[in-house]
Amino acid sequence: MKKPETAVTKKKKKPRSRAGETWHRLKKNKGAMIGLAIIIILVLIALYTSIFWDYNTMIVKVNIPERVQPPSRAHPFGTDDMGRDVLIRTLYGTKYSLIIGFGATAIGLIIGVLLGAVAGYFGGFLEDVIMRATDIFASIPAILMGMVIVCVLGTSLPNLLIAVGITAVPAFTRITRSMVLTIRNQEYIEAAKCIGTPNLKIIITEVIPNSLSPIIVVASSRIGSCTIQAAGLSFLGFGVPAPAPEWGAMISLSRNYIRTAPWMTLFPSLFIIIMVLAFNILGDGLRDALDPKLRR
Amino acid sequence: MNVEVENINQTENEQLDTCETVLEVKDLVVHYELEDETVEAVNGISFSLKRGQTIGLVGETGAGKTTTALSILNLLPDPPGVIKNGEIIVCGHKMLELKPQELEKIRGKEISMIFQDPMTALNPVMTVGEQIAESIRLHEGLSRKEAFERAQEMLELVGIPGERAIDYPHQFSGGMKQRVVIAIALACNPYVLLADEPTTALDVTIQAQVLDMINDLKNRLGTALVMITHDLGVVAEICDLVAVMYAGRIVEYGTLEDVFVHTRHPYTEGLFNSLPNISDKNSELKPIPGLMPDPTKLPPGCAFAPRCQYATEACRAAQPTPTYFNDTHYVLCTRYNEPDFRLLTRGI
């Protein structure tokens, strides 16, 4: 009875060494490492501020006497129209963008990959229905969809997550389905079927791990675009409600003071750009590391 | 059709009279300089070709054949590829000393090349007629219309109906694509055609057709041909001269009869012996043991010595010098410094 054991251990080794190899290649990419470092720093900021900072006293407490002050030693990023320290609010706002970036992408990924895998694997009528529905859904511009969904559900962080997450589904569905279609025709799938492996097991153990690379690539580019989308929605008023220091919302509020107090706009903008840039650079690096054939 | 071919030959003959030796390669040395190491691809090659002759450049993969051909046209990929030494003369033009604009005039007009893989050799978004006509317009200054008509004639010459000149490459099969490539190469009736394994990527049945066509055109148009191949059968069919290459050197050179009947070099002997013998069903295959040496770490002595059954210490110590058997036939083999050395199974 040794054969089944060695077969299983062999399978476990393969993904590990593949991941290890990918990590090794990724490490060589300086840009990607910088991006990763920035993201880790941002995550740490988000964790620290959420745990240790008191929301009510530090973030939302109104402080009229000190309102609209330019950057100074006491307030490195200046203060906003309610007298609150912009630096503190910006740092605290990290957690919203990170949650939406990761969360929305995760929602899109889970739903999209499942739908795509089912569509690709079972084919036939099911595939047609899923893909046509995806096409219809993709025909609706994402921001409009997001607006309507948030309008329905109300402005809050979870709702924003859902709104942006749903718009990320089509990309994942499409890429998963096309990967599954390619893999489905490979011989090792035929072999697994021949020895009677149930369909679900095949999907989980063979199909999905082998489709991972392009899914990871799509995911990494999605995080950036989800973050931008969420910021945009917040800016238009469809995001996390005031007084929460979400970056898009902060920028929206600062519009009235754009002439007199540009720092209110600039610093949150800077943070958004840095975070999305870090994700994009890391995503690019991941893409290169996962498939060396794509390197120049 | 034949009348026009003859006309071409007549005007070309007037020019060719001043160009008897159409191609001369002298002591060509080519390296690929990579980041960590240098590939010594070609290590001193010389040969020459007269008007209408065909030479076969034979050897395994990695022997330096394609590199030689690309160097003749000065088309080596320039970052890694460097021509370290040598002279290349095409009809009196010193290719390695010419400026790019002058080279562009010679390529396609006096010397042209066809490559191994027809599937990727054609531009997918231009019609085949346009691709042939482009060459004609560039070198012969014809108008668009005239060039296109000539292109259609070239297609007919290679056995494709002229109406198909408006079709795109993806509408042709592999064999037909290769014919288009040949049509492009011969469109301006060059003196020399370099053919780099033109039939290797094709089906066996198509191979014979394309080969026959190349041979036929070569004869009709009077083109000299450098046929690069690893297939001795192809060489036997169409070549006048043979150069056997190994690790970037020509180890045996001579006429077809010299090399095939009076084989002298151990490597050439090995090549012939490794051909399967159809009539003797019980005999075993006799491959040459071992592998070609790593071109980044070539040994100081004869490169074939590690695999050679006749090798001696002298062979391994120093590079062999050419031994001539007659005007045309020479080998690079140290053993021939001894007066009585003979191969065991060939050349007797």
Binding site: I136, I149, L236, L266 | S112, D117, A121, L122, P124
Partner: protein, 319 residues
């Protein structure tokens, strides 16, 4: 080919039906109705009831949906409940503004990106390449409203070069918004151009062209670029579609009287008819634009054209 176009356009019908249904369903679920956004304090109960009946708010959502679709099929997009204005007229009057903005962004983006991308590809691995890649990365990482606001700060307030908003100053007022929306286009297109050119540079048919004696300039211009442009055009088209759809944000920043702003206003006021109309019309534009991109693609790449014009093979069941 015509068959292909018609098939694609026919898709619009189910799309419209589904989108309208989704919008109606969602807005129906939303708390509050149109009546909450217009001032109802001074109305008598009868007048209030009359409004309820006028907007069919006492009938189930499906009724309103069916009525809407019926009107739609007759070409009537209805009147916005909040404003009382005709939906079609409002959309159409604002559409040219959005179109102008998107195309200005497109031109700026492409004019910048393609040469930069070619330069980057030609000098791959050098500092020039890194600079262009860095610029493109920033382009795609910057939300358009951030860029818009930053541009306003720099060029409208610190240096008074361009107006901060509105439509009035003609050409000048278009510059900042066009740049803001064009940067995304520039970034994606530059990246696509670079990677496309790099891939094409390695192609065998370039070697064939050189062996024919084609001058290097022409090799790059006609053979390399001709092939590289194909994915570039697709990328430009897709990005344009995204720009058009996302115009809401840029229009808000610059108070640009376009379609995006109209949609935002509609959603905010829970105006189902107006929202539906805006979303449906924008969807149609989206779909038509993507179709045009696909057709352009076929125009440029004869292999794709062959696919579109091929007769449909009979479906075979898998063995």
């Amino acid at each position: 080919m015509i068959r292909y176009i018609i098939k694609r356009l026919l898709w619009l019908i189910p799309i419209i039906f589904c989108v309208a249904f989704i919008i109606f369903a969602l807005l129906d679920l939303a708390p509050g109705t149109i009546l909450d956004t217009i001032s109802t304090e001074n109305l008598t109960p009868e007048e209030y009831q009359r409004l309820v009946e006028e907007y069919d708010l006492d009938k189930p959502m499906v009724y309103r949906y069916a009525k809407y679709m019926w009107n739609l099929l007759h070409g009537d997009l209805g009147r916005g409940e909040a404003t009382g204005l005709d939906v079609w007229r409002e959309y159409i009057s604002r559409f040219p503004a959005t179109l102008k903005l998107s195309f200005a962004g497109l031109i700026i983006g492409v004019a910048l990106a393609i040469p930069l991308g070619i330069i980057a590809a030609k000098n791959a691995g050098t500092w020039i390449d890194n600079l262009v890649t860095g610029f493109s990365m920033i382009g795609i990482s910057m939300p358009s409203f951030c860029l818009g606001l930053i541009l306003i700060i720099c060029f409208s307030y610190k240096i008074n070069l361009f107006p901060a908003g509105g439509f009035d100053s003609g050409f000048k007022s278009m510059v900042l918004p066009a740049v803001a929306s064009g940067l995304l286009m520039a970034g994606t297109t530059a990246r696509q151009t670079r990677s496309s050119m790099l891939e094409v540079m390695r192609a065998d048919y370039l070697r064939t062209a050189r062996a024919k004696g084609v001058p290097e300039k022409r090799v790059i211009r006609k053979h390399a670029l001709g092939n590289a442009l194909i994915p570039i055009i697709t990328s430009i088209g897709n990005t344009l579609a995204i720009m058009l759809a996302g115009s809401a944000v840029v229009e808000s920043v610059f108070s640009w009287p376009g379609v995006g702003r109209l949609t935002v206003q509609a959603v905010n006021s829970r105006d189902a008819t107006l929202t539906c109309g805006c979303v449906i019309l924008t969807c149609i534009v989206f779909v038509v634009l993507l179709l045009i991109v696909d057709l352009l693609y076929a125009l440029v790449d004869p292999r794709i054209k062959a696919q579109y014009t091929a007769k449909k093979p009979k479906r075979r069941k898998e063995a």
